[in-house]
Symmetry: C2
Subunit: 283 residues, 2 copies
């Protein structure tokens, strides 16, 4: 695996790969790679000749009160992980090069970015779409992989790709979980042993919501209420939001339709750590 830090070198490398007719897949990450990321790299290998994993803790997608500074970073460990998962290149640009002092341009998807995560984190998706657009322009991949854990991000990026005519195939890979069900996240390292234990309620509450829907509940507000009740059984877990929406459009669905794909999304704080998770239910 080759490590690339300069944008120009990445561009020139990508250009050469393109001229050689290689199909390029990218896996954009913020590093501190876990099994979820590695599953994306392995999946990318199945669809592309060359896989470029990118690591960039993107300041623009963090609000000033968020965890940009303390976000976990460990490049040496990431190099080993990405390499053993089969990544061909690891692109790790610097903040200075990605956002020079007179930086002024942003890519914004409207409407679907102002609900759920966007409501709790108002400028978050603008940061995500901007940095993903930059990575797309630098590497010009044929496919790009993202994880289902960031369900709304996946929908927002698909919308951006379609609207801006990127012609890139977006593949969303399933959530990878710890043995006790907690969705893998680089932020899980923030959790104290007690918090870590209580965090297992998140996935259990999603499964409880799924169970309700599959047993015939069609009133979304009752599903939400039951999940909130379930989450609140753990004293360290504070609910940010629980929502039941259409899984493809994020449209509201107060009545759950038959033969539809329903996304149950949860965001909580466990101590000072914010965690999200979701499940798709096919009715």
């Amino acid at each position: 695996m080759k490590l690339i830090k300069s944008i120009l070198e990445m561009q020139q490398t990508a250009d050469l790969l393109h001229r050689n007719g290689a199909k390029i897949g990218i896996v954009p990450t913020m590093g501190y790679l876990h099994e979820g990321h590695l599953s994306l790299i392995r999946e990318a290998k199945l669809h592309a000749d060359v896989v470029v994993t990118t690591i960039f803790v993107n300041p623009v997608q963090f609000a000033p009160n968020e965890d940009y500074k303390k976000y976990p970073r460990d490049l040496e460990r990431d190099i080993l992980h990405a390499s053993s998962a089969g990544s061909d290149f690891l692109f790790v640009p610097s903040v200075e090069e990605m956002y020079p002092p007179d930086y002024l341009t942003f890519v914004e998807v409207e409407k679907i970015t102002s609900i759920l995560e966007g409501k709790s984190r108002p400028s978050h998706f603008r940061g995500v779409t901007t940095v993903v657009a930059k990575l797309f322009n630098i590497i010009k991949p044929h496919i790009a992989l993202f994880g289902q854990k960031d369900a709304q991000q996946a929908i927002v990026i698909k919308q951006m790709v379609r609207d801006l005519n990127y012609g890139i195939k977006i593949i969303i890979a399933p959530i990878v979980r710890e043995e006790d069900g907690l969705a893998m996240s680089s932020r899980n390292v923030y959790l104290s042993p007690e918090e870590r234990k209580e965090s297992t309620v998140i996935y259990k509450s999603l499964k409880r919501g799924e169970e309700l829907i599959l047993s015939g509940e069609r009133d979304a507000s009752r599903v939400v209420a039951e999940i909130v009740r379930y989450l609140n059984t753990q004293p360290l877990v504070k609910v940010d939001y629980v929502s039941v929406t259409d899984a493809n459009t994020l449209g509201e669905c107060s009545v759950i339709n038959e033969k539809s794909q329903i996304l149950i999304s949860v965001a909580v704080r466990v101590g000072t750590t914010r965690l999200i998770d979701n499940i798709i239910v096919n009715t």
Copy 2:
């Protein structure tokens, strides 16, 4: 010259050109081609193996009160002109395909888009950068040509290309003028004979401003005042703005520095027609 109307066909054509190692130049236009556009096509031929001229009257860059509907269109004439200037492809996408009903994504350059033209036309540049980003993504050109007449647009697009890492070389070609000095514009067809005659004052006023600066005037407000006075000698010409700025950054310069590039920009209404023009003065 090949006419392409479908986005997918243009993407596939561009992909094939890329695989064949062709250097692609694009000339984005709103059609109703005049000698200014044709000079861009001829210039593009000098820098690229294949020139794609695009014609798209972009609704997103017009405000509701502007001339989107009446903007002149004549595809047959444009085909002849673009072809004879040496364009290899003419890409003419439809509004329906460029902006499907659930379109949500916009590219925005901040700060430098809220002055001059952006002050008079608040959502204009957001429309320009969005459509240019789409064309860049569809065609993935190596170079792109724009006219100096839209001086601020040229600076905004250069900023977007740099910020979003497009890796595309932007070439700005000089303003082409009628024999009496009026800058060529598709909008000149709107002018009545009387208005057309009075419009010659625009370039004359710019030359008057240049003359003042070259003869040593260093107070920008005096240059502006003299240009406004000069424009006001024509009863049908109403000044929108006259500005003296740094030619590269559009930064204000109340005092004109030595050995700098100064941009004098003018926007006027002649009857209901809005016209812009500019001149660069090297002190």
